[in-house]
């Protein structure tokens, strides 16, 4: 049986960044397994620009960003298997994969990094009301059809959910000759970046309906019509506010969920809020030596953060292989309090820290002019003023080791109104 020091499952931005970092740290015998016939993952279909401002200090399109990492990989001895699907992983870190030339194979890994990306929520996941005719797509699926295959899914489009992928697709389909009749968002605020509201909707006079949702889908075989209603403060539709739109496509841009299928039979703890695994400061799961990275850990809005965070997983692999990761004693639990939806990592081992670590989190609703307060065992250790906080943007706070100590038990984060 072939043996590897680290097997990285998924060759998207998380997997590639982790692989390059493992190599740079001197880890030998690195394998990346990717099910598609190209590296780069979802970035390949994100042909618009705006990526890379943190990583490369320039604005790149998705494929260009991926290309930078693919070129880095080429300069290493990292082994890459394309067109190869991982089908199972066991607790003793055996990885099963299949591809055309080798058939079914089993390999043994010292460490594993799961970097399989995320799913888009579909009509079932949000319990969309009404019929299920042809013409309902997730925004990412429509993006893939259009940008990789040149196939426009329809001509009269309505978009549910104001996430960035939906906004980007509103512009993209308009450019290709479709008429986008509107974007509806159930919340009273948009979930996309302001710049995307401006350059994807306002530029093309596409209306954004805040506090609105699709309350019925009508069509026997093909989508014919949708019903849009305003919602009240409890997000319930208000009778009498119905509007109807004749459309042949409804795009859903209503959220992403980490892919954790392969983790299910490992009994790895999953966090109820992130829907990804519970991890420590090195993105290591509840099974020592098994790490996660990228959208498979928690959903990121910016690929730059994915690349950066994946290096942590690589550092974890490096330390694990050298016997330098600690599991007992000095465990600090992170706790999300008022206004904070979740925090990654959920646990921090003081003994594993170099000089600092980063708390990543999202707020539960928009806030203006507030402080983010970080406490260690109820003592304030950091306070940061924020002009604007919105759930769609992930926040980062750096905690240096001198702010806590070996006896710290809990770190909490909360939003405090001024």
């Amino acid at each position: 049986m072939n043996k590897y020091n680290v097997v990285i499952i998924g060759g998207g931005s998380a997997g590639l960044s982790a692989a390059v970092k493992c190599y740079d740290l001197g880890v030998k015998n690195i394998l990346v397994i990717e099910k598609e016939d190209f590296l780069g993952g979802i970035l390949n279909q994100c042909i618009h620009n705006g990526f890379g401002l943190h990583e490369f200090k320039e604005q790149l399109s998705g494929p260009e960003y991926a290309y930078r990492f693919i070129e880095m990989i080429k300069k290493t001895d990292v082994e890459v298997k394309l067109n190869t699907m991982v089908t199972n992983v066991t607790k003793d870190k055996h990885v099963f994969y299949t591809n055309e030339s080798e058939g079914f194979q089993e390999i043994e890994a010292q460490t594993i990094i799961f970097a399989m990306g995320c799913y888009e929520k579909n009509a079932g996941a949000i319990q969309l009301a009404g019929d299920r005719p042809v013409g309902i797509y997730t925004a990412g699926t429509a993006q893939k059809y259009l940008n990789a295959e040149g196939y426009l899914v329809g001509k009269k489009v309505f978009i549910l959910g104001s996430g960035d992928i939906g906004l980007i697709m509103a512009r993209r389909m308009t450019l290709e000759g479709a008429k986008v009749l509107g974007v509806a968002e159930i919340m009273p605020y948009s979930n996309g970046l302001n710049r995307n509201i401006v350059q994807c909707l306002n530029d093309f006079d596409i209306p954004l309906y805040l506090s609105h949702t699709v309350t019925n889908v009508i069509g026997k075989e093909k989508l014919e019509k949708i019903e849009l209603s305003q919602v009240d403060d409890n997000l319930l539709p208000i009778k009498g506010t119905e509007k109807y739109f004749d459309v042949d496509v409804l795009l859903l841009s209503v959220g992403l969920i980490p892919i954790t299928d392969l983790l299910k039979n490992l009994d790895i703890k999953i966090n109820a809020r992130t829907k990804g695994p519970v991890v420590n400061e090195h993105n290591e799961t509840s099974i020592p030596g098994i790490f996660v990275a990228g959208n498979g850990l928690h959903v990121h809005d910016l690929v730059d953060y994915v690349s950066n965070e994946a290096r942590l997983s690589a550092q974890g692999v490096y330390k694990f292989l050298n016997g330098n990761l600690h599991y007992n004693n000095a465990l600090i639990v992170t706790k999300n309090e008022n206004g904070i939806g979740y925090i990654v990592p959920q646990v921090v081992n003081y003994l594993n820290l170099d000089d600092k670590f980063v708390l990543k989190f999202r707020v539960t609703k928009p806030f203006k002019n507030v402080d983010i307060v970080v406490k260690a065992d109820n003592q304030i250790i950091k306070k940061i003023f924020k002009l604007n906080l919105i759930p769609s943007e992930m926040e980062n706070i750096e905690i240096t080791k001198d702010l806590i100590n070996i006896n710290t038990k809990e770190i909490s984060v909360e939003v405090k109104e001024r």
Binding site: F38, H48, N49, E64, A148, E149, G150, R195, Q199
Partner: protein
Amino acid sequence: MAQNLICIVCPRGCHLTIDENKNVSGNSCPRGVNYAINEITCPKRILTSTVKLVSKSLARLPVITSEEIDKNIIFDVMKELNKVEVKAPIKMHEIIIKNVLNTGVNIISTREIIE
């Protein structure tokens, strides 16, 4: 009359105000000033799209304008892109259309296609 704008140069999306003397405020970096002045005189955008590709692996080649183009010619440039068909191999940043519609801007590839 002062105008409010949202800067689209980077994901930060600063809320800008520009007055009649073209004084800009609200920007977190100097690029916001340029953006605001351009936006009220001659708005410009980067355009990304795809062109038809003959290759073993993919049917479309992603492309980008080498610089910003005037916002009001975006649909004209889209028409030019629809006339193009390219064959693999394609290098990263290969020129696909030179000086599109006499703008001085090139259309370049944003993906390498080996075969």
